[in-house]
Symmetry: C2
Subunit: 166 residues, 2 copies
């Protein structure tokens, strides 16, 4: 009998699974030591009074095997929120069965239901299998744009030169 | 007498200025027809009960001459919100006077006060004056990442294949 795939919103009980997926994805992205998030962080930011992200769980016969984690961005050109997918992950043993596609179409359906004009996410340039997969789903790569970041000591230095007016 | 620079949170009365800045910035970014946002959109999303972005106004002697518009993203590696600056703009006649720097340091100070580990924004690769300016402020370009996007007909097609579970 074929296993049953179900995509559903994450609940607080999924937090240990979500953190495990985040760590597995970071390892795949060649940054195994990059994950500092704790279960407490994910509980607070995903399921507390101030919700900072949304999460869908893919499960096969009720066992979680992948997830999509997203938040809302804002387009000043469109005058509307969009959806940014921060993480999309399916465990290696379950790839090639349409589960990543099911997660992505699910998020796309949520974007449509909210009137969001855009759905986007970042991809590593060397991850050509993922890029091919996304392009087959109708996505295009934004070739003109790059992301700039300030963090750590540089952020402390920059921020201590300004005073927040709140 | 030197003009007085003030950076302050935007109010609903700034909406016409904000939309004018968004249009001027789109023109500079060679996308003059890209702006579909209306004053109603900006009022709803910036100053309504469901706040989708935050905005700072730079003014010289009480006249608005630039802005920074940002929202919160989420890092699953850090387990914390960060700040993404969607737009940073100073009118051409007022550039080279440290106003862009003042806006950026102000947002950095807000990021620090909120415990955000990262401040980031996107830049056009051909905009080398901006990139140099940002690098002097301590920012680094994320060279490995590219953004993928689904919108318009492709999003409708992708989303209609999935069912939102909410």
């Amino acid at each position: 009998m074929a296993a049953t795939l179900n995509i559903r919103p994450a609940t607080p009980a999924d937090v240990p699974h979500i953190l495990a997926f985040i760590r597995e994805l970071a390892e795949y992205e060649r940054e195994p030591d990059a994950v500092h998030a704790t279960e407490g962080d994910l509980f607070r930011d995903g399921f507390g009074p101030s919700k900072r992200f949304h999460c869908l769980i893919a499960e096969l016969d009720s066992a979680p095997i992948g997830f999509a984690l997203y938040f809302h961005n804002y387009s000043t050109w469109r005058g509307h929120t969009g959806i940014h997918i921060e993480d999309l992950y399916v465990r290696p043993a379950h790839r090639g069965q349409g589960i990543g596609r099911a997660l992505l179409t699910h998020v796309a359906a949520i974007a449509l239901s909210e009137g969001c004009p855009r759905l986007q996410w970042d991809v590593l340039e060397w991850n050509t299998p993922a890029i091919g997969f996304y392009e087959r789903m109708g996505a295009t790569m934004l070739m003109e744009w790059r992301t700039m970041r300030v963090s750590g000591e540089a952020l402390r230095s920059l921020g201590s030169a300004g005073a927040p007016s709140r």
